[in-house]
C-alpha cells in the first residue's frame, strides 16, 4: 500500500513546499511553511497549462469516440454472426495487442510525414485509435453476448428490420457496456499519449499534459514544486472518473479476460 501511494504522496508533499525548502540539504521531513502557493504560481510558469489539459481531454475524447465508431459494428458482428475465420481473426486481434507502438514507430513516422500529419492532433489520434481497437472489440463483444439473442430473433420473426432491432433492442440494452468500453478507451488513450506525443509532435499548442510538462524538465531551473502541482491537477480528472466508475471498469476488464 505504501509502495503504491508513495509516489503520489511524495508528489503532493513536494508540491506544497516552497522551492528553497525543497532543495534544502540535509533532507528535511518537515517544512514550516507548506502552502498551496505552487498551485497558483504554476499557471504563470507553465503558461500553456490550460491548453495542455484541454489537449489531453480533447485527444482522449476524440480517440475514444473514433474507437467506438469502429468497434461497435465489429464487436456486434463478432457477438452475433457465424462466419469463416471468426475465431482466427479474433486471436489475431489479441496478438496485435501485443505489439507495442514502439515497434511500429518508424514506418508510422514516415507515413505521417508523407501525409503531412506530423505535428498535428491527427498524428496522435490516428495511431492511438489503432492500438485501442483490439481490446475494445473483445470487451464490447462480451457485453453484446450477454444480451439474449432470443429478443432479437423474436423481433426479427415479427418482421422488425435490422435497423429497428438495433434502435429498440440493442442500443438501450448495451448502453452500460458502451459506457464501460468508452471509458476504457478514454483512460487508455489518456495514458498512451506520451509515446506518440513525443515522437510525432513537436508543436507546443498540440501537446497533451505529459509531454507538455516534460518540455520543462530539460530546463536548468526546474520548479519542481510547480511541476508536481501541475501533474496532480493534470491527473485529477482521470482519477475522479475512475473512482466513480471503477467497479464497472474492473468488472468489465476481468470478466472478458478470466472467462477467455
Amino acid at each position: 500500500m505504501t509502495f503504491i501511494l508513495l509516489p503520489f504522496v511524495e508528489m503532493f508533499y513536494a508540491s506544497l513546499r516552497p522551492l528553497d525548502h525543497l532543495f534544502r540539504s540535509p533532507y528535511q521531513f518537515y517544512s514550516d511553511d507548506l502552502s498551496f502557493w505552487a498551485y497558483r504560481e504554476m499557471w504563470k510558469t507553465v503558461p500553456m497549462l490550460p491548453r495542455y489539459i484541454f489537449n489531453s481531454f480533447f485527444l482522449a475524447s476524440v480517440t475514444s469516440l473514433i474507437t467506438l465508431l469502429f468497434v461497435i459494428p465489429a464487436a456486434y458482428s463478432y457477438a452475433r454472426f457465424r462466419f469463416p475465420f471468426k475465431n482466427s481473426s479474433l486471436y489475431i486481434l489479441l496478438a496485435i495487442n501485443m505489439f507495442s507502438g514502439a515497434v511500429l514507430l518508424i514506418p508510422l513516422y514516415k507515413v505521417l510525414r508523407t501525409f503531412g500529419l506530423l505535428n498535428t492532433y491527427q498524428a496522435m489520434i490516428v495511431p492511438g485509435v489503432a492500438f485501442l481497437i483490439p481490446t475494445a472489440i473483445w470487451l464490447l463483444k462480451s457485453y453484446f453476448e450477454k444480451i439474449p439473442i432470443d429478443l432479437e430473433e423474436a423481433a426479427f420473426v415479427d418482421g422488425a428490420s435490422r435497423v429497428q432491432i438495433l434502435r429498440h433492442i440493442i442500443a438501450p440494452l448495451s448502453t452500460p457496456g458502451l459506457v464501460v468500453v468508452g471509458i476504457y478507451a478514454f483512460i487508455g488513450s489518456y495514458a498512451q499519449q506520451f509515446l506518440f506525443a513525443i515522437t510525432f509532435n513537436q508543436k507546443k499548442e498540440y501537446m497533451p499534459i505529459p509531454s507538455g510538462l516534460y518540455e520543462f524538465i530539460g530546463y536548468t531551473t526546474v520548479k519542481w514544486n510547480e511541476m508536481m502541482a501541475a501533474s496532480l491537477v493534470g491527473i485529477a480528472p482521470v482519477l475522479i472518473i475512475f473512482l466513480f466508475l471503477q467497479k464497472y471498469i474492473v468488472a468489465g476488464l476481468t470478466s472478458g479476460a478470466v472467462k477467455n
Binding site: 465489429a74 454472426f81 511500429l104
Partner: protein, 299 residues
C-alpha cells in the same frame, strides 16, 4: 419461419461488412507498418533517403557485443520485473480477498498506478529517486544508512533495480485485479468442504485456491511478460537507457537507433528482432489459451 430465423445470424456478407472498417484500419496502421519495418530493415534508410543493403544491418547488429548485452539485459530485467509483479500481485490479491475491514477501499486504492498516465507517475518516481532531495535518500541519510546523497538513477546497478521497481509499481495493479477476480470465481463449497475436513489456512490456499487459479496465473505471466518486454516510457523517462547503457533494453535501443539517430534501417532491424520475439510469445500465449479453453469445455 425457421428458415428465416436460421438466416438471422449466418449472413456472412453482413458480418464481414460490419467488421471491415475496423479491420481495414488495423491493416493500415498496424499490419502494413509491420511489413514496412521488415522491408526497411534491409535498407540504410535515414532522413536522407534509402538504399538496399541486404543483411548488413543484421550482420552488424548480431556481431556487435553491445547488442548481445542488450538482449541479455532485456531478459534479466524482464525476469525480475515479471516475477515481482506476480508475487506481489498474488499476495495483494489474497489480502484483498480476505475478510478484512475496509477492503473495498483498498481495492480502489490499488488501481491508481495503472490509471494514471505512466509519464506522470514517473515524475513522482524521478523525485523519489533524487539523490539529494528525494524521500528515499532523505530517510537513508537521516537514519545513517546512507552517508551522503545517493542518486539512485546515477549508478549502473541501482538504476537497473530502480527502473525494475518503478515498472513493478505500474504493472502490479493489473495483475492483482486479475488474480482477485479469479479467486472470487473459485466455488465457495470447495472451501466449506475443506473447512469441515479441518484443513488449515495454508492447506486451503495451496490445495484449493492455487490449483483453481493456475490457468489465470499462467495467462497473466505471459501477458505480463509481453507488457514488460514492451515497456518503454518508464525506462525512457527515468534514465533514457543510461547510465552508460545500464538500463537499455531492446525497445529502448530500437527507439534510440531509429528516432534518436534517425537511422531508420538499423532501428528497423532491431524492431524486427522485437517482432520475432513478440510473435514467439504471442504464439505461445495463444496455444496456451486454446489448451485452457479446451480443458474448460471438457469439464
Amino acid at each position: 419461419m425457421k428458415q428465416k430465423l436460421k438466416s438471422y445470424n449466418t449472413q456472412t456478407y453482413l458480418a464481414y461488412a460490419l467488421i471491415a472498417p475496423a479491420a481495414l484500419y488495423i491493416v493500415l496502421i498496424v499490419a502494413w507498418p509491420l511489413l514496412e519495418t521488415i522491408r526497411l530493415s534491409f535498407t540504410n534508410s535515414s532522413l536522407a533517403g534509402e538504399d538496399y543493403v541486404g543483411f548488413e544491418n543484421y550482420q552488424k547488429m548480431l556481431s556487435s557485443k553491445k547488442f548481445n548485452g542488450i538482449v541479455t539485459r532485456t531478459f534479466v530485467w524482464m525476469f525480475f520485473s515479471v516475477s515481482l509483479k506476480l508475487i506481489i500481485g498474488l499476495i495483494g490479491a489474497v489480502l484483498l480477498n480476505a475478510n478484512l475491514k475496509g477492503r473495498s477501499i483498498f481495492r480502489v486504492l490499488v488501481m491508481p498506478p495503472w490509471v494514471v498516465p505512466i509519464a506522470i507517475g514517473m515524475l513522482g518516481w524521478l523525485w523519489l529517486y533524487n539523490g539529494y532531495f528525494g524521500i528515499i535518500a532523505g530517510v537513508g541519510m537521516r537514519t545513517g544508512i546512507l552517508d551522503g546523497p545517493f542518486g539512485f538513477l546515477a549508478y549502473k546497478q541501482s538504476a537497473f533495480i530502480s527502473t525494475i521497481i518503478a515498472d513493478v509499481w505500474v504493472g502490479t495493479p493489473m495483475v492483482t485485479v486479475f488474480f482477485l477476480a479469479a479467486m472470487q470465481g473459485v466455488p465457495r463449497d470447495l472451501y466449506e468442504a475443506a473447512y469441515c475436513d479441518g484443513a488449515s489456512r495454508w492447506d486451503r490456499f495451496f490445495k484449493i485456491t492455487l490449483p483453481q487459479i493456475t490457468p489465470v496465473i499462467i495467462t497473466m505471466s505471459l501477458l505480463s511478460a509481453i507488457w514488460t518486454f514492451n515497456s518503454f516510457e518508464i525506462i525512457w523517462i527515468l534514465t533514457e537507457g543510461g547510465p552508460r547503457g545500464a538500463t537499455t533494453t531492446l525497445i529502448i535501443d530500437t527507439y534510440k537507433q531509429a528516432l534518436g539517430n534517425y537511422k531508420f534501417g538499423r532501428g528497423a532491424a532491431r524492431a524486427v528482432v522485437v517482432m520475432i520475439l513478440l510473435t514467439l510469445f504471442a504464439g505461445f500465449y495463444l496455444a496456451l489459451l486454446a489448451r485452457i479453453n479446451k480443458k474448460i469445455s471438457h469439464e
